[in-house]
Amino acid sequence: MITANDLEKFIKQIPAAPVVVIETLKELEKEDLIKAAKSALRDPALISYLREIINKPYFGFTNDINDIYQIFSGLGIIRAKQIISSYLVSILAPKSWSFFELTQEDIQNMQSDTIIIWNKILDYKKCEESEIAISAVLLPAAIIVCEYLFRAKQEEIELILSNKYLDYNSLLERVSGRNFFDLVEIICQKWGLPIRSAKILKAASGNNPDACDYKDLVYAKMLHMLFFYLLVKPNLVKAGLMQFIEYNPDFTEDIAQEFIEIVGIKS
């Protein structure tokens, strides 16, 4: 099974964030959209990613936007930081998946769905904090980490789980002392992404509410529900994501109805 050594090896192999992305984020931190756009120009993959996301209907642009300065201007500081952080997570994703039956397209769609639904929630809550905006885009990172760690251990994991109902996150914690969200926090530290965002994600696992500040807990709860809402898509259920974490009804009891109303779920 997975050992603490396996985790250390994985952590050492986490690639550094591309320089262009780091510099773009630094400019956004200084709230300079023009310089950020100029920096982003040096990474065609980043431009392509930004174009893909911003031209989704949610962002409300009637015509496609391709000009990088217009993209940054249209997004604003907070959304630009959010989507660039999402781009960083997308770089981490493997070219092919085996533990989860996912494709690159599935992950890209999951990322854009996460951004759209999360921003709907933040608009409703009138939240304009970039760290909270970024927390949701880290969710796919936890799934990507699970893929890397579990892909060579599929048989062993199936053996343990055939006799016991346990989610993957809890299994990793039991065998190694750390879970996927702990590892995402380490990735954030390496990449210079906000630790507050990683802590909100950690609390969003459902079994660690003390991981984030009390004032961020409502967002952690919303993020917990968001993960399961994403699994309404049959391809993600088929991929095996339903067993990634365990839903904690007690954790979300006070916000469940609000979440259902915000995302517009009807019976």
């Binding site: 099974m1 053996l159 006799n163 039991r174 399961f228 309404v232 898509k233 009804p249 469940a256």
Partner: protein, 471 residues
């Protein structure tokens, strides 16, 4: 997703948002085929972690459950829903519910599978449906419980509050349970080393259909020696019922096991038929309580005091040929769970010989049958048991004996599962029985006494660990 099997019940633990689009991905055709091949008394779906469901999603799950009912003849149901969900489910099927509803898993086990709630316990319940009230009362009675109906939810709430101060008031209660017709398997419970079947009504030829012969055979396989058919709720028994029980008794004798009948008063059976049962080796006791207090009976039937044909069966050549598979599966399972590998120290053909202090040792056993049949026994110090089961015990520092027993059962299941998989790769098919655990080694030694087999002593973290394979 595959169901988790616990105490003869297959459970699908679904979670999240369930609608008509994603429900078919939750329980796929392969999952359905796999489940149909299981030997269980019920298939249930847990709604404990379902956030939201719509009618289309529920309809799909209902169709899946109906498939299990028609192909397996099992009880089907859903449990663990909120009050709001309960009302919503009932409203979705105003004419007839296609599946049972249970407040929780513990309530479900009152009606199917193997319940931890002891026989004769008081069960309080409320139901707003008069037909359900009668049906539930009868079912609980037939399964050996004392059912008390409470007329309002408020009254139930008051009684539950009172129970906090006085837990002996009743053993369990429920208020959102709804039963549908299903073929009733005879209730079974474990009382330590004794398997108790609760008979009710008229015992005639159809008792064979309602008796879980698979479970009975597996129990014999893993070393249970005393089986009781309690007749307190029986109205009468005819020759067909007697013939069935006589056959059970004769078959049990081959295993050195005994069938007992309790509370079979003279007015329930003709004297001649009773004599026939006595001739076939059945013992009679006035009540179950008297039997369970008969220390000498329990000691001689704690596991194999009588040497018999079955225990004299030698370990077969076919089994010996696959010995490496069994040993490697055990080593692999322990390695997976602990990240440490045990080392083989010695191997011998003998009876089980333990060279350590017995009071520090725990054991678990599991039987198998099919292309090969036998019994795997694992004996280890408590310290190793805890290390092996650490993941299964959630790394807890302290746990009850029951938690440790459950974890040991899961561990030996993992060993058996690994073995089954490895043998299957070689074209050898086996079926695994329910595991048994022994927190006191003397109980195990009674079971395997005089059995010859292969004993492998391994060392793990400097302590001995015994693997014993026998028939």
């Amino acid at each position: 997703m595959r169901p988790v099997i616990k105490d003869k019940i297959a459970i699908f633990y679904i979670q999240g948002f369930i609608d008509g689009n994603n429900a078919p991905s939750l329980i796929t055709l392969q999952d359905i085929t796999y489940t149909i091949g299981l030997d269980v008394d019920a298939v249930l779906i847990s709604f404990e972690k379902v956030i939201f469901f719509n009618k289309k999603g529920l309809d799909f799950l209902a169709e899946v459950l109906k498939q299990f009912k028609s192909k397996m003849g099992v009880l089907i149901g859903i449990f663990g829903y909120s009050k709001k969900s309960y009302d919503s489910i009932l409203a979705s099927y105003p004419d007839e519910l296609p599946f049972c509803l249970f407040d929780d898993l513990k309530t479900a086990t009152l009606f199917v599978g193997i319940s931890e709630v002891p026989r004769d316990s008081i069960i309080l319940f409320y139901s707003k449906d008069k037909d359900q009230k009668n049906y539930i009362s009868l079912e609980l009675y037939n399964r050996g419980y004392q059912a008390i109906y409470v007329s309002t939810p408020n009254e139930l709430a008051l009684k539950r509050a009172a129970r906090v101060q006085n837990p002996s008031l009743f053993a369990h209660s429920f208020e959102m349970t709804h039963l549908i017709n299903h073929s009733h398997k005879i209730a079974k419970q474990l009382f330590g080393k004794v398997v108790v079947y609760t008979l009710s009504g008229y015992i005639d030829g159809d008792v064979a259909d309602r008796f879980d012969l698979n479970y009975h055979t597996k129990s014999l396989n893993v070393g249970f020696k005393l089986f009781v058919l309690d007749c307190e709720r029986v109205k009468a028994m005819n020759i067909h019922g007697v013939n069935f029980i006589a056959k059970l008794s004769i078959a049990a004798a081959e295993w050195g096991a005994t069938i007992c009948l309790t509370s079979l008063d003279d007015d329930k059976i003709q004297p001649k038929l009773k004599e026939e049962l006595e001739t076939s080796g059945v013992l009679f006791y006035p009540t179950l309580e008297i039997l369970l207090n008969d220390k000498s009976l329990l000691e001689t039937h704690g596991g194999g005091a009588t040497v018999n044909k079955k225990s004299k069966q030698k370990i077969s050549k076919n089994l010996i040929e696959q010995l490496p598979v069994f040993i490697n599966s055990t080593i692999k399972s322990l390695s997976i769970l602990t990240n440490k590998t045990p080392i083989k120290e010695s191997l011998q053909m003998s009876q089980l010989t333990i060279n350590s202090q017995l009071d520090n040792l725990l054991a678990s056993s599991i039987g198998f049958y099919g292309d090969l049949d036998g019994l795997i026994v694992l004996v280890f110090p408590k310290t190793i048991a805890i290390k092996a089961c650490k993941i299964l015990l959630n790394n807890q520092e302290s746990f009850s004996d029951k938690e440790l027993e459950d974890a040991l059962a899961e561990f030996v299941n993992i060993v058996a599962g690994t073995t089954k998989s490895a043998l299957s790769d070689k074209g050898i098919k086996i079926t695994i029985t329910l595991p048994r655990t022994f927190l006191k080694l003397n109980e195990l030694l009674h079971t395997v006494e005089a059995k010859n087999g292969v004993q492998v002593v391994m060392s793990f973290d400097g302590e001995p660990f015994y693997f014993f394979l026998t028939r």
